[in-house]
Amino acid sequence: MKIFFTLNEVKREIDIDLSETLFTVLRREGIFSIKSGGCKHGECGACTVLMDGKAINSCSILAAQVDGHVIQTVEKLGQHPEQGWKKTQGLDPLQENFIRAGAIQCGYCTPAMLLAAKSALKDHSKPSEEDIRDAISGILCRCTGYKKPVEAIVQTLRGKTGSKLNIPLNVDFAEQSKGWEKVGKSEQKVDGVKLVQGKPAFTDDFKMPGMLYAKILHSPHAHARIIKIDTTKAKKLKGVAAMLTWQDIPRVLYSTAGQSDPIPGPLDSVSLDNKVRFVGDRVAFVAAETEEIALKAIDLLKVDYEILPPVLDSSEAMKKDSPMIHDEKDYVNFGDSDRKKNLAASIRIDIGNVEHGFDCADRIFEKDYEVPKVQQAHIEPHVVLTYWDEDDRLVIRTSTQVPFHARRQLAPVLGLPIKRIRVIKPRIGGGFGGKQEVLIEDVAAHLTIATGRPVRLEYTREEEFIAARSRHPMKIHLKTGVKNDGSITANEMYALTDTGAYGCHALTVTGNTGHKSMAMYVGDGEFRKSPNIRFYADIVYTNTPPAGAYRGYGVPQGFWPVERHMEMIARELHLDPIEFRLKNAIRSGEIHPFSTAWSEGREPKPEVINVIGLPECIEKGKKAVGWDKKFGNPTWHRVPGKPYLKRGIGIATVMQGTAIPYLDMGGASIKMNDDGSFNLLVGATDLGTGSDTILAQMAAEILGVNTDDVIVYSSDTDFTPFDKGAYASSTTYISGTAVVKAAQIVAERIKQRATDLFNGELDREKVDSSQIHLSQSKAFSPDGRSISLEKIGHASLHHSDQEQIMGVASYMSPIAPPPFAAQFAEVLVDIQTGQVTVENLVMAVDSGMIINPLAATGQIEGGMIQALGYAVCEEMTYDQKGQSHQKDFIDYHIFRADEVPPMQAIFVGTYEPSHPFGAKAVAEIPLDGVAPAVGNAILDACGADVTTLPATPERVWKAIQKLK
């Protein structure tokens, strides 16, 4: 059928198939700003276009319906102001304000937000914030928490297009940051202009001639042996290029967890096996000329299964008569893993003398807690494109957080040496740990090897729920000994972790649970000098989808019980909950207790924590939330005229880590160009956090140039230096230090050449290179003379003593300085129904120096809203056969723009001496304290002690019933 419509002000006539959606047709026509979230019911809105001026989902409308209508996409909204000789209008004010306000993180949903906002601004002469939030409610953003996008729209509405937003640094930073020109400033995102235009920057925006489409047949059974796969009919289907089962590819044991070598976990996965271990496990791969043919071929596969009894409850996994999930004989143990007991990993850490500590206690408090399995829910699904290049090297273009680990780990699986694999990480549409997994790259690669052709594979949203990774659910028992004066004498945690069918990240996630949450409270007095802490954990296999890395990496699981427990103890002992926490919390200059006992299976080395800004976090957070006026004030807790509503306020104090000591390494390379600009090549992976910008800022500070004079490229295993990837809150600290070291090498060389030029001038005082100062894209001599970096760069490449000025450096840290935070929540509880409304969130953070306050507040705001989902609504559940209840964003709700509460992020002024600019991590810690702060606020409101997350209305109601 032919359709006639107007696309971005151009009349178009296009041939379509009747079943095609507008999304498919527009993508085929080169409109790459519309993105796929893999959803079936239009829940995510990443594919938004304007139809006759209204925001609609292009994936949820037939192309045929558009005949006669006007369609607009971001491609027409505005463009880069510099287009060579061509004059342009530049960016739309809305696009400019999205960049200025820090409204973009991964940028995957940005074009959709812009269009929805554009429509709202057109529809209303004076839209309220509520109207704006409603207007963008159809676009899910997992990164920003929506605060900054709304601010950007409001700014546009007010016509403030010329002023640069600059969040002032806290005064405490002033002394150490004196003289800094770029670091500590809210510099604009280096990739912002690209993202507001919806440029083809993401994995699926690249197409290859002759590209095949891959699909996976997933297991319908939780536990079964594959007896036979009949591929006859499927192979006969026209357009099927390859079909692979476990019999077609070599069996190579590996771990899908993207981690450094040696992998700290069992090798228990193969690309295809003759056994399936969860509903969603892989059975077969298909590559076909179109996605529809691939799906049809999947339907034609006939598989005979021997159904085995599943293990669906972690409490049953280690029982003697439980079915063995990994009965394969080639399973490779790590540490204490024991497949016969369904045990993926085991942890036994004793610090001090725990029994003695309990003996010294006046009171012992014990309780059980539970945390759920939740999804990372990045809006860009897992997606990969593989192909052989002209040198017969396998290119893997993939949305990954760990390109270098992926290359190393895939090499043996594919039967290729590392040098014949190139992994390219384009722009990533969010990851949150979900892409710290080598999840689907092997599927496309096997099919490229089988066919010799490019293969593209993208997960649907349903596949994200049934066959990707999640946060590990845990059942936790906590026991604490306390003196009557509030001194903790001993603290003991046992965690039973459900790793699902495979042990990816099994040991390290749960290790982190204890390593951070149980390090927070060391006790006081004699117990502070020698803390008594025990952390035991068993990480068991079940026949559910595997868990893996998820922002926070085990720590949110630990702080739910610890912070709920601390609140309960303080209240039982009639102590002020904040004073009780501070009395027992770890302090500056003390040794991280776990550093003496555990290091993910490696030799532990004691680490002193130099700086702890927790008291300042509490002080500033209390002030911002109005703690003193609300806590313990019966009037504030009441809602006039509604006796069934009660207000409550809660706090949680938390810590995280900054990188993994003696393991994480990042590299950087900087070269100078002939106009005084620089190329910064990093293996570090910006998954939306803004790390490319932050790394550019640090380089710019050292080199004395503008941030946009540093052109960042990341990452490509052929071109950029090694970096372990984006995880463990390490990029600013580890990769950032590498960038600073590389920049210092370059700066030294520039200064030397400047010195030579200065000293070549007649009748002037000679200068030494150590006296040269780089600033404003110039080299300054002590007597005020200057030479532009353009002149130095140009001369170095073309005129005399020609050389490429460049520097390469890398960094590995012996310590992991923890950030600290105080998180506050205010709630309204309906005591007759258990419904909880979170009314306010505040987080005060000690993350050392903040390199880019705008980006950092964005991290905190987005993190808090993700954590709010963990607190109140997100949960993955299964039926008795292991079938997932949640397969879309309808049954699995993530927060929308029109329902997030007010929130505030505050930084306290500390300076971490081990980083060149005093920085610590900020990305993960927002996930840690929201849930316990909400739980404590519910307790404060009505006395209901909810021990299981999320705090659903029913759980709160049941806790209230127990009080009766």
Partner: protein, 246 residues
């Protein structure tokens, strides 16, 4: 898979197409459901040219054309505010811009706020051909039989005050359970319960509420609400809404 696409310019043509025995022919409204991949082969009749989206109101009756989008209903000042609020809660803005009242009626399940409200308001559906009038409460149980070759063109409601209360895990999440209530002009209470179930339920006035709740709870998906909670909270919400209405 769609094998034919038609965009008739008048109702008669649309009804003629929908009356065909083969191929299977379905009315296409906003497209949010039929645009998704389906294995079966069918033809679609796009209703966008038929001007079936008019909204009219009088003191005793509001008529809404089934091709009115949900957002048009939200923005229409002729519609009572509580009904506009309910429609706004049906879905996010993009889907409200696309989705129509008719589509919502035909495809919505027990989670649909709109369908619960229509049931509570005792809405009448006008079905063509023949301008037959059928109550929504009858239609939802017989829709397959009624809809063969026909089209709902209008929804008529009596704009009496409607109150509702829903329990959700997050403010805009799907309702775990909800109660809708209104008083008719002769003061009879009409109560509807919705939630994560196949259809909204109308409580009968001649049965004891607890007996009915047992049946309703048994039809909830995923068993994600316990009986204890369901039985405990529904009466609370009913009591509150009664107070509000009085």
């Amino acid at each position: 898979m769609i094998i034919e696409y038609h965009r008739p310019q008048n109702l008669n043509d649309a009804l003629t197409l929908l009356a065909r025995k083969t191929p299977i022919t379905k009315p296409l409204a906003g497209g949010t459901v039929l645009s998704q991949k389906h294995k079966e082969q069918y033809a679609v009749v796009d209703l966008q040219a038929l001007e079936l989206g008019k909204i009219t109101s009088s003191a005793k009756k509001i008529s809404i054309g089934t091709m009115a989008t949900l957002q048009e209903i939200v923005e229409n000042p002729k519609i009572p505010q509580e009904l506009r609020d309910i429609v706004q809660l049906e879905s996010s803005r993009n889907l409200r811009n696309m989705g129509t009242l008719g589509g919502c009626i035909v495809t919505g399940d027990g989670r649909s706020m709109v369908n619960a409200a229509l049931l509570c308001l005792n809405a009448a559906l006008i079905i063509e051909p023949g301008s037959k009038k059928i109550l929504f409460q009858d239609w939802i149980h017989r829709k397959k039989e009624i809809m063969k070759g026909s089209l709902i063109t209008t929804v008529a409601i009596d704009p009496m005050p409607l109150k509702f209360a829903c329990i959700r895990k997050a403010p805009k999440d799907i309702p775990m359970l909800g109660v809708f209530m209104r008083k008719s002009r002769n003061d009879i209470l009409r109560i509807v319960i919705n939630g994560n179930c196949i259809l909204p339920f109308l409580l009968s006035s001649n049965k004891k509420i607890p007996d009915e709740l047992i049946k309703i709870h048994s039809e909830y998906r995923f068993k994600d609400i316990s009986k204890e909670y369901f039985y405990g909270v529904i009466p609370v919400l009913i009591h509150r809404l009664k107070e509000e209405l009085s």
